[in-house]
């Protein structure tokens, strides 16, 4: 039981990181969708930018998970 309790902060932290990353990815994806719908001819550029931002966000989230482990 004691062993389980020591895990709790880590798990809550991991959950918070995932929630934050989820919100961020959702905003990026939503904005990209909107942009593509408005200007379908810019799809390629928007996708590239979207992937870069998503990758940076993902790096941050993974870094936090990795350090918090």
């Amino acid at each position: 039981m004691e062993e389980m309790v020591t895990y709790v902060p880590n798990l809550v932290g991991a959950g918070l990181i995932v929630i934050g990353a989820g919100i961020g990815l959702g905003k990026i994806g939503g904005a990209a969708m909107e942009g593509i719908a408005r200007q379908p001819e810019a799809t390629g550029k928007i996708q590239t930018a979207m992937i870069i931002i998503a990758a940076l966000l993902e790096g941050l989230a993974f870094g936090a998970l990795f350090l918090g482990k």
Binding site: T48, I51, I52, A55, L56, E58, F62, G63
Partner: protein, 394 residues
């Protein structure tokens, strides 16, 4: 293009089939090597997954029990260690697939044993490994290990293969208009990296860096795909490998940084003087720590997480056997891991693309010709007209 598309399709199908073949062995592989009995608990599956994520000294394909004896199928790799008596080499088969410090090999006057994929040297008087409360060995010490492990083998193999493929491709451009054979698969990918990643992100100086970007892209991509085969490679999921790649990128973008790059780091123009030192600290941390750290952790975490997910879904077969029965659990785990493996094929490409893209972006930042005192006409980012393909290869 058609041939390339066809080849990629065939490759994906092949990789998929390979992972299917690994199912045949998995149930047996889950067996605990020590007791020779069946694995039914979650702990043993977890142990098995963690063992897979780590590097190891041999290829272990599968095991089975016959006449009450554990049989292992795989092939050994050379162990090269620096012991207190100097360099010692032998094949890892001498450990007989033991990973718990039970088998002791005497070579060159020292006692060696393998524990959790690491080679330990026992004290001269010891006859077995003693453990403390945290299961750390008390009478054995770690060694300098230069062994050809699974990951080292993978890196060497892919290095040689890439040298073969790409030198052949480069030679073909000297005599032919278009490459033949496997070169036709590689050409569109090479052009993709050059035209979609290097040129737009680096600008007019892209040619100098395209070689590195291509190498990193293919190295990561092929090793990611190799990780989906049942040989159990997890090369790009090793921190040492991804850290090394990130340090290469760091060295390249620091070494090729121009005046503007350093000026923007150390003495940012256009902001109040008092803020400049603060910005310099942030920029220095960003350039030397955060950028490479995010590169290395992203690749490592993505690939490791992918492997853990695939292995966990395979582990469903063992864990859910009581609830669903053996056939039900097998079908469930097969279907789930089939789809996640297909997603992993996509992730393998995406991570190689992102690593290359961000490397190009960072290099582009350090070589960009930017003049803040004049108007922003972005002349520094202009890409020259597309050159002949041949020119870039010769």
């Amino acid at each position: 293009m058609k041939i390339a598309a066809y080849s990629i399709k065939t490759l994906s199908v092949l990789f998929f089939l390979y992972s299917a073949i690994s199912f045949a062995g998995v149930k047996e592989e889950n067996l605990n090597p020590q007791d020779g009995g069946e694995v039914n608990t979650q702990e043993e599956v977890t142990e098995y997954i963690l063992h897979h994520i780590k590097d190891s000294h041999d290829f272990h394909l599968f095991s089975y029990t016959s006449d009450g004896e554990r049989k292992h199928v795989g092939f050994p790799l050379p162990v090269i260690v620096w012991t207190s008596n100097g360099l010692t080499t032998f094949m890892s088969s001498e450990f007989h697939h033991d990973d718990a410090g039970k088998v002791i090999v005497e070579k060159n006057g020292v006692k060696l044993t393998k524990l959790h994929s690491k080679i330990y040297e026992l004290d001269a008087t010891a006859s077995g490994v003693n453990f403390d409360a945290e299961h750390h060995p008390t009478n054995a010490k770690k060694l300098l290990d230069f062994s050809i492990t699974k990951s080292v083998f993978g890196v060497m193999m892919i290095g040689l293969l890439m040298l073969l493929w790409f030198s052949r491709l480069a030679r073909q451009y000297k005599t032919k208009q278009i490459p033949t054979g496997f070169g036709r698969v590689l050409e569109p990918l090479v052009l993709y990296v050059r035209d979609e990643i290097a040129k737009p992100n680096i600008g007019p100086k892209y040619r100098k860096f395209t070689g590195y970007l291509l190498t990193v892209f293919f190295f990561i991509w092929i090793l990611n795909l190799l990780g989906l085969t049942p040989f159990g490679f997890n090369v790009t999921g090793q921190l040492a490998i991804t850290a090394c790649l990130a340090i290469f990128t760091l060295i390249i973008y620091v070494a090729s940084g121009n005046k503007h790059f350093w000026q923007h780091i150390l003495w940012m123009p256009g902001v109040p003087v008092l803020i400049r030192p603060v910005l310099a600290i942030i920029e220095l941390a960003g350039t030397f720590i955060i950028k490479p750290f995010s590169l290395l952790v992203r690749l490592f975490a993505n690939i490791s997480a992918g492997h853990i997910v695939v292995m966990s879904l395979i582990g469903i077969m063992v864990v859910m056997k009581a609830e669903l029965g053996a056939p039900g659990a097998t079908i469930l785990s097969f279907v789930l891991s089939m789809f996640i493996t297909l997603i992993e094929v996509l992730v393998a490409f995406l991570q190689a693309y992102i690593f290359t893209m961000l490397s190009a972006l960072f290099i582009g930042m350090s070589v960009a010709e930017h003049d803040h005192d004049h108007d922003h006409d972005d002349h520094g980012h202009e890409v020259p007209d597309a050159e002949d393909v041949r020119a870039d290869f010769i």
